[in-house]
């Protein structure tokens, strides 16, 4: 019995962590290339609205997922053109992107409020999915959870082992040197931004198609910002981002249980716990690393080649 409860808690932690994992991995790749995109929240919520709308209109979750990703890519390409090719300020443009995305999601989702869909299917393998404790965790999740895991592994491999990943890191580390070596700095950055957009859109689609299968304005609830913080928290390493997302997912689930147990603490305070945990973790980490950060050295800087 208690084993079942533990399994349930673990499964909910992994679900709560999934949108953070996906969005953080996308932003991590973007930042490793030297671009700071603060518009994650905006791309995520637009992905949620677009994903849900497409799924309702076509009746297909798969198309919904693609719709969510397409929305993220569209917004990020706008961001990319502005900051990479027109050298606009990345911080200001990223904040504007969040505002734009929030507004756009309201527009897209306006006709779909109150509609409901079935959540996307979970994997079910006879025997394996029924294993105690780990059955549901490993073999009974939905598509998004596995996509998140695959992203972590693939991006970790890409960044450390592949030639393209090395080039991407070089661009984020020192764009002037990279340019001097003939690496197409702006093209690589643009691709990294698009990847980040696709991930944010996917994370948003998870929320509206699987986590809570309906559309509600503001349903991302600041998860885009948490994902941004996670990238720093993880010192730009994919596996650490995954661990950080689980930590945050755990805090979210625990506060729900604490509220259910009615501890006499105001609910709003408990809701704030995961966010407070993020801030505290970030402060502790940066205190420990006082002698310098491991941020990509060209992060947030515009690059304009002479020719």
């Amino acid at each position: 019995m208690s084993l079942q409860i533990l399994e349930l808690v673990l499964v909910t932690i992994f679900s709560a962590a999934t949108p953070l994992v996906i969005a953080a991995i996308g932003e991590l790749v973007t930042e490793r290339a030297g671009v700071l995109n603060l518009g994650v929240e905006g791309m995520m919520i637009t992905g949620a609205a677009a994903g849900f709308a497409v799924a309702i209109l076509t009746g297909s979750s798969a198309l919904g997922v693609l719709g969510g990703m397409a929305a993220g890519v569209a917004l990020s390409s706008l961001f990319g053109v502005l900051v990479i090719f027109l050298a606009a300020n990345q911080v200001a443009t990223g904040l504007a992107l969040t505002i734009l995305g929030t507004g756009l999601s309201g527009l897209i989702g306006a006709g779909f409020i109150g509609l409901k869909r079935e959540a996307t299917a979970h994997l079910s393998i006879p025997l394996l999915s029924d294993l105690p404790l780990v059955g549901k965790l490993l073999f009974g999740q939905d598509f998004f959870v596995y996509a998140g895991w695959a992203l972590v592994v693939a991006v970790a491999w890409f960044l450390t082992k592949s030639r393209a990943g090395l080039t991407l890191r070089a661009v984020g580390e020192n764009h002037a040197s990279a340019h001097a070596l003939g690496i197409p700095v702006r093209r690589i950055r643009f691709l990294a931004v698009l990847f980040g957009g696709a991930c944010s859109g996917l994370a948003g689609a998870y929320l509206s198609l699987a986590y809570t299968p309906f559309w509600a304005p503001g349903m991302t609830g600041g998860r885009g910002w948490i994902a941004l913080a996670l990238v720093v928290f993880a010192s730009w390493r994919p596996v650490r981002a995954f661990a950080g997302a689980l930590l945050f997912g755990g805090a979210t689930v625990l506060q729900l249980h604490a509220q259910a147990a009615s501890l006499g603490v105001p609910g709003q305070l408990l809701t704030a716990v995961p966010y407070l945990a993020t801030i505290i973790a970030l402060v502790v980490l940066s205190l420990r690393r006082r002698r310098g950060s491991v941020a990509p050295a060209s992060l947030g800087l515009s690059f304009v080649p002479e020719r």
């Binding site: 030639r163 580390e173 310098g292």
Partner: protein
């Protein structure tokens, strides 16, 4: 060394009528350059003569506005550096094009042609480094390496692609004399293998030792081609500048008076991961002397300058004294009021605000000592008059009455900034790399100013990477290495070799006792 290139030898590279314009500005105004296999060809010229632009065109980084490049007689046009590398042109950059947080092997892997396997790279790196005597550890991150080691990465990176021509841009500016010798030995091997070398340097003695042909650029044009071994360094300098350079008049020896700047057991933690911490720095600069502090960039010069100027405070107030007053915990304004003046390394952005006019830049440092403010207000007419005087007295060439600082050339802005501090007759003047990137005639003028100031009884501390400069003007010298400062040596009793050993981190006490 081989004999000068026979006139009829077929050119490996032939650049014809290269013109490059940036908007209104013409960086290259029709340059012809031939490079023959197996030769060491020097490209000489002042800052802004168009050397860097020309080699960037050769390496595919810039597109020429007009002109033609032939490789082995065939016209070529490089889209990007990768195409240039594939054609056999390698480049070692002045400001290294390396990535601090990547390892040596990763840095090298970045320039391999697309599609080439990374597997086996380690073995190839080892083979090349062994063959040319380039000591390297493949798995070290670059930020832990010295300038000499970093340059070896660049050279190894070049050699892995078996280049026909290697371009080196100011390769010795960051090396100790000993490291430079190692580089020259490697270059001699490369030449013997029939590779051509295009060597850009402002160090004329090196050029005379290494190169068999020199092309001299001035204002974007070729003004002379010669065999540098047959010319004196003086004659080469005159070709570069187009006029005679005045010698700096030495000051009478040892007129040193009382101590005016004292640094005592100054320690300062590093500010960031790649920074340097100062350890127990002690030195004294006396009235009437120019004290030279040599060292390779990044050994604590910037940290020491910040601690002296008050941009960073020492732990103990007695760690820095100006005319006997403990100022280690005082800010820069107070230190200025005690008579000190400071000229930092970075002209645009540290010593001067680039978009401010010269008179506004005068206020930036002179507000501390009066004359340009009245109460809470700035006295603009007084500041303008002062800027005018500095422009006149220090021979600053500026367009307009009160132009923005960024419109001045490096040499003229530096003369203005040095003049801004000297004109109030400081008791102590501290300068960091005062002639870095400054043309030869402005450099000579600035050195003269420093000597004259010391002769009037001020204490002058010059932090510089340029050993020639320090030997020219210093009475005493010390070396900063890894945040520690050596004992002071009498400049005329020491040698470049001794200073070079200290710059490379030789045991300081040993080197001095051996003396």
């Amino acid at each position: 060394m081989t004999s000068p290139t026979p006139a009829g030898a077929p050119a490996l590279i032939a650049m014809r009528g290269i013109v490059k314009r940036f908007g209104e500005f013409t960086a290259n105004a029709g340059i012809d350059l031939d490079i023959v296999a197996g030769e060491a060809h020097a490209l000489l010229g002042e800052n802004g003569a168009g050397k860097s632009t020309l080699v960037k065109i050769l390496y595919g980084l810039l597109e020429p506005t007009e002109g033609e490049i032939r490789l082995d007689g065939r016209p070529i046009c490089f889209e990007d550096p990768e195409a240039a590398r594939a054609a056999g042109i390698g480049m070692v950059f002045q400001h290294f094009s390396l990535f601090d947080n990547l390892t040596v092997a990763e840095n090298i892997a970045l320039v391999l042609p697309r599609g080439e396997k990374l597997a086996g790279l380690g073995a190839r790196i080892e083979a090349v480094t062994k063959r040319y005597g380039l000591k390297l550890e493949a798995n070290r991150p670059v930020w832990t390496l010295s300038a000499g080691e970093r340059q070896r990465i660049e050279i190894a990176r070049c050699l892995l692609q078996d280049p026909k021509l290697i371009v080196l841009d100011e390769p010795t500016s960051v090396l100790t004399p000993q490291e430079a010798e190692t580089l020259f030995a490697t270059l001699d091997v490369l030449r013997a293998e029939g590779r051509a070398i295009l060597y850009i340097s402002h160090r004329l003695e090196e050029v005379r030792r290494l190169c068999n042909r020199a092309t001299v650029l001035r204002a974007g044009r070729v003004v002379a081609t010669c065999d540098p071994r047959e010319q004196s360094a003086r004659a080469l300098a005159a070709m570069m500048v187009g006029s005679h350079i005045v010698d700096v008049r030495a000051k009478p020896a040892d007129a040193a008076g009382p101590e005016r700047l004292r640094v005592e057991q100054l320690s300062l933690p590093a500010e960031d991961m790649h920074g340097v911490c100062l350890v127990d720095v002690s030195m004294q600069v006396r009235a009437g002397e120019v004290f030279g502090l040599a060292g390779i960039a990044g050994n604590g010069q910037d940290e020491l300058f910040a601690a002296l100027s008050g941009e960073r405070l020492a732990a103990q107030s007695g760690a820095v004294r100006i005319d006997g007053i403990s100022v280690g915990r005082d800010n820069i304004t107070l230190r200025r009021q005690y008579g000190a003046a400071f000229v930092p390394e970075e002209r645009n952005g540290h010593a001067a605000a680039p978009d401010f006019t010269l008179s506004q830049n005068v206020i930036l440092s002179r507000h501390a000592t009066g004359g340009v403010t009245s109460g809470a207000f700035v006295d603009l007419p007084a500041a303008r008059a002062l800027a005018r005087d500095i422009i006149k007295d220090f021979d600053v060439r500026a367009s307009g009455a009160d132009p923005a600082a960024r419109t001045l050339s490096g040499g003229n802005l530096q003369k203005f900034l040095v003049g801004r501090e000297i004109s109030r007759n400081p008791s102590v003047l501290v300068l960091n790399q005062p002639t870095w990137g400054v043309d030869a005639s402005a450099s000579a003028a600035i050195r003269q100013l420093l000597i004259d100031l010391a002769r009037q009884g001020s204490a002058v501390l010059v932090i510089s990477q340029d050993l020639d400069e320090l030997f020219e003007i210093s009475d005493r010298m010390a070396v900063i290495h890894d945040g520690r400062v050596s004992q002071a040596l009498i400049a005329r009793n020491t040698t470049r070799e001794e200073i070079g050993l200290l710059m490379g981190g030789a045991d300081m006490t040993k080197a001095i006792h051996a003396h």
